[in-house]
């Protein structure tokens, strides 16, 4: 293989790669896709609505729907002592958007989150985490467990 052939090869390959770089960046920038797609570069949090605080009555009607997903954000020992029927327990600090069972749910599914009552923050904290992982219908039953017990509703253990 001659030196001239090698030189020619590298010169041509260099031009090809330069042209590919130019065309690649130019076309994706022009079509606003790939690297230049805004949806992939900005955090999803701003693209979705805030979690909505709901009244006990609205919570009742949502919880009555069979498709609603109910999350208890309190500690595990509180959950074991009693919780709203069908609710599952995801303590707010343990939530991992990539490994929780929420990964398998459609993003527009109704989710109702509750914790102890007016004084607790874990339901709000968990709700904002869930909203930022892409769910669009997240509701916080803010008066929570205290209100549920006061109204004499059904308790699951």
């Amino acid at each position: 293989m001659s030196r001239i052939l090698l030189k020619r090869t590298f010169r041509e390959a260099g031009w090809l790669i330069f042209l590919s770089l130019f065309l690649g960046f130019f076309t994706t920038a022009f079509h606003r896709t790939g690297l230049f797609d805004k949806a992939t570069s900005t955090p999803r949090l701003s693209a979705h609505p805030e979690p909505l605080l709901i009244s006990p009555e609205m919570a009742d009607s949502l919880i009555a729907l069979p498709s609603t997903f109910i999350i208890d954000s309190r500690h595990r020992f509180e959950y074991v002592q009693g919780h709203i029927p069908k609710a599952i327990n995801i303590p707010a600090h343990e939530f991992d958007p990539t490994s929780s069972q929420l990964v398998y749910f459609p993003k527009d599914r109704n989710i109702v989150i509750y914790c102890d009552g007016m004084e607790c923050n874990s339901s709000l904290l968990l709700a904002s985490k869930i909203v930022s992982s892409g769910f669009t219908a997240v509701f916080v039953y803010h008066s929570g467990w205290t209100n549920w017990v006061e109204r004499g509703k059904e308790i699951a253990r």
Binding site: M1, T9, L16, I17, L19, S20, G24, G34, L35, T40
Partner: protein, 165 residues
């Protein structure tokens, strides 16, 4: 005649080189078009191999399909054929390494070679064989003297009459 030499002499035939150029060029152009059309899907296919970080993968997905397209066209038309064949050899070596590591790590992923649809099936040894075959023919194309006039360095350049002593 030993069979290895027979294959080598067959690979040097002009018709074989011509067919290899047309077939491999068409394969690369056909493979490049869906990737250019949807760089994000291709970036996902690259990310599945878990060899490079996703942000780097997105850059690769932006640029590499164009190299495939241009080099594929170069192989077909004969324009920039050395650089094109060389680039495609480089790409094939990368593909073979990527697929090989994918198989060895037992990854259940699709190739992302021609179709970005994950349902085409899992990567396997047949992909290595396909790529290796193309690699062999591309090396033959690269080393072939097809229609290229190389300047002969053994002949001194004629001097301009003005510069004559």
């Amino acid at each position: 005649m030993n069979p290895f030499r027979a294959v080598i002499s067959l690979m040097k035939r002009r018709e074989i080189i011509f067919i290899a150029r047309m077939v491999i060029g068409t394969i690369f152009v056909a493979a490049a078009i869906p990737k250019i059309a949807d760089p994000k899907a291709f970036a996902l296919a690259i990310a599945n191999y878990k060899l490079i970080p996703p942000s780097v993968g997105l850059v690769v997905a932006t640029v590499m399909p164009w190299t495939e397209l241009l080099a594929g066209l170069g192989i077909i038309t004969g324009y920039y054929i050395r650089g094109s064949a060389f680039s495609l050899i480089g790409l094939l070596v990368i593909f073979i390494i990527a697929i090989l590591t994918g198989i060895l790590r037992n990854l259940d992923i699709s190739c992302g070679c021609f179709s970005l649809d994950p349902s085409v099936g899992r990567i396997g040894w047949h992909k290595i064989a396909e790529n290796f075959l193309m690699l062999v023919f591309l090396i033959a194309v690269y080393l072939s003297p097809t229609g290229i006039r190389e300047p002969d360095s053994s002949v001194p350049k004629p001097r301009h009459p003005k510069n004559m002593p």
